[in-house]
């Protein structure tokens, strides 16, 4: 019965999500835009700023960090090292996809229910709070993860197509896999939870999204601190980061569950 109830929520969410043109575009086009934009930025930076970047000390430190993490990189020409440094940011750049999709699904799903009053009717059924949250979280997290993985594949294909295929072996590292399969799900869940928290306070989905989009900034900070050589995300650090976010997820789940209590929704959300 529990599985049936969660499946029921999941299928309903997807049916609503994929019949809404705006949400559908966010889920399908946004990842492609992020991949395209990412490659364009890195190409532009490499093509037009390459030489000047090599003279900047923060990038020199970052290149040293890269060489420490992957010793074989030292044997590559300097311009290739710089290109690899830029492309290596992509696994963090990809985190924008689960963040934006999960937030969108959470706010779309909850604010919509809040506005139509369907959440009140739903809470009069035997569904449990955690079943409802899990069903909605899966509805957001599954497309977010799938699209992130598809985007990672597209990225690797494009990298090969534009003649940088020799760098693929360096890109597909332990950090890459940890980022895709540990960090991405953790970030997707965190984004969803923040979406729930934001939606509980918001009057419409736009203000909920504005509130919860704050999570995008930490993702950009992660890219910033790696590319400027402050920190290099080694597999160990990536693992630590994923575990840290998972702890935050547990706290956010508790907050979200409290906000999702029947009494809170019945009294405060109307």
């Amino acid at each position: 019965m529990i599985r049936r109830r969660i499946q029921n929520i999941l299928l309903k969410e997807w049916e609503l999500l994929f019949t809404d043109i705006n949400s559908l575009l966010i889920v399908t086009l946004l990842p492609l835009l992020i991949v395209g934009q990412g490659i364009l930025y890195f190409w532009l930076a490499f093509r037009f700023g390459g030489e000047s970047m090599l003279g900047v000390s923060v990038f020199q430190t970052a290149l040293q960090n890269l060489a420490n993490a992957i010793p074989q990189v030292a044997q590559l020409p300097v311009d290739k090292q710089l290109l690899l440094l830029l492309l290596h940011q992509f696994n963090l750049f990809l985190l924008l996809i689960p963040t934006m999709i999960a937030i969108n699904v959470a706010t779309f799903s909850i604010v919509d229910e809040k506005l139509t009053g369907s959440l009140g009717a739903l809470l009069a059924t035997p569904v449990r709070t955690w079943e409802l949250l899990l069903g909605k979280a899966l509805a957001g997290a599954i497309p977010a993860l799938v699209m992130t993985w598809i985007s990672a594949g597209i990225f690797l294909i494009i990298v090969s197509l534009i003649g940088w295929g020799d760098l693929s072996d360096f890109l597909i590292s332990g950090s890459w896999f940890l980022s895709l399969f540990l960090l991405t799900p953790a970030v997707a869940v965190l984004s969803f939870m923040l979406g729930v928290v934001g939606s509980s306070r918001a009057k419409d989905s736009r203000s909920a999204q504005n509130w919860s989009l704050a999570i995008i900034f930490p993702v950009l900070v992660l890219i910033g601190i790696q590319i400027t050589g402050i920190i290099w995300f080694t597999p160990l650090l990536m693992l630590t980061l994923a575990l840290g976010i998972s702890v935050v997820n547990i706290i956010s789940l508790r907050i979200a569950s409290r906000l999702f209590q029947r009494e809170t929704i019945t009294i405060m959300w109307h």
């Binding site: 309903k12 009140g120 009069a124 449990r128």
Partner: protein, 325 residues
């Protein structure tokens, strides 16, 4: 032990009714504001009870506590033996709720909406339940249309169908006709009447006194506290004396004197060829009164009982009893 046929028959004739809803000093505070104060009442199986009261009287809060949506501050309630503050999931399997706002997914069809909500109950065949209730509420033909295209009345009927899908033991209707036009209100009332005839236990809150009188076996008048609970007839008798009106072709002093001297006439007034009487036992004395008038040569045009509208009973309760308490 052997039993006779007569004993068997009398055993079969006993109708066992169960108290479906019980509240024991149920109270709810919101900060310093008391929404519901020490509410104690009982509702029997198959009974339709109406909760009447002005805005802010605690009607919706009472329904929310009885349906396990919010917790009481003190006291407790049971529905079919389940504590509404402790056994919420089990409770939700045996109750049906029509909230003030129907709450549907406008982009889904009526049928898809019902199937979604039915999916949360341990039903054997929810598809046939959806079909059964869509037909009952008269929306089977429009089942594939998006709910966003339904009228308010249709949405309310659909919400009633949703409340019935899992064959609940008790139904809670919060202001079932509020905001509906007269035609849609009638459709919803007719549906509730059908459910009443089918022996469902219904707890409904309403502002509409006519609706309460038409649909409910008993009414509970609350204004934070319970002011009265009884049948509308008994409430009338409690607050207003029953008065018989006799319209005559003509009225003379002799006839007035004869009637006023009858032993069962407690009070009498007259005017415009009409007699207004209060009788000791209205049910029994009415025929004796008619006989006495006819024997005295009076020609009766009409005999009727002057009924006070429920509105007057309600206002008296809210103003006088509510004020005293």
């Amino acid at each position: 032990m052997a039993t006779t046929e007569g004993q068997k028959a009398s055993v079969l004739l006993i109708v066992i009714t169960m108290t479906m809803i019980k509240t024991f000093g149920l109270s709810r505070l919101f900060g310093n504001v008391t929404a519901v104060d020490n509410l104690t009442l009982a509702v029997e199986e198959g009974e339709v009870i109406g909760l009447l009261g002005p805005n802010g009287a605690g009607k919706t809060t009472t329904i929310r506590m009885l349906t396990g949506m919010i917790q009481p501050t003190s006291g407790y309630a049971t529905v079919s033996g389940l504590r509404t503050d402790q056994q919420v999931e089990q409770l939700h399997e045996i109750i049906g709720l029509l909230p003030e706002v129907p709450g549907f997914y406008d982009r889904f069809s009526g049928k898809r909406n019902l199937e979604y909500f039915a999916g949360f109950y341990p039903l054997l065949d929810y598809r046939s339940q959806v079909e059964k209730y869509l037909k009952l509420i008269g929306l089977w033909e429009r089942r594939h249309d998006k709910v966003g295209t339904y009228s308010k009345g249709m949405k309310h009927r659909l919400a009633i169908a949703r409340a019935l899908l899992h064959e609940p033991k008790v139904l809670f209707f919060d202001e079932p006709t509020v905001g509906l036009d007269p035609e849609a209100s009638k459709e919803v009332r007719d549906l509730i009447s059908k459910l009443r005839e089918a022996g469902r236990t219904i707890f409904l809150s309403t502002h509409n006194l006519g609706e309460a009188e038409l649909l409910c076996d008993r009414v509970a008048v609350i204004n934070t506290k319970l002011l009265a609970i009884d049948t509308t007839e008994q409430l009338r008798n409690r607050f207003f004396r029953r008065q018989i009106m006799v319209q005559l072709e003509s009225l003379d002093t002799r006839l007035v004197e004869i009637i006023s001297n009858l032993s069962f006439v407690k009070e009498m007034s007259h005017g415009d060829n009409r007699l207004f009487l209060q009788l000791t036992e209205p049910e029994h004395n009415r025929s004796e009164l008619i006989r006495a008038i006819v024997e005295a040569g009076g020609r009766i045009v009409e005999v009727s009982e002057q009924k006070y509208p429920l509105e007057e009973v309600y206002l008296k309760l809210i103003r006088e009893v509510g004020h005293d308490s």
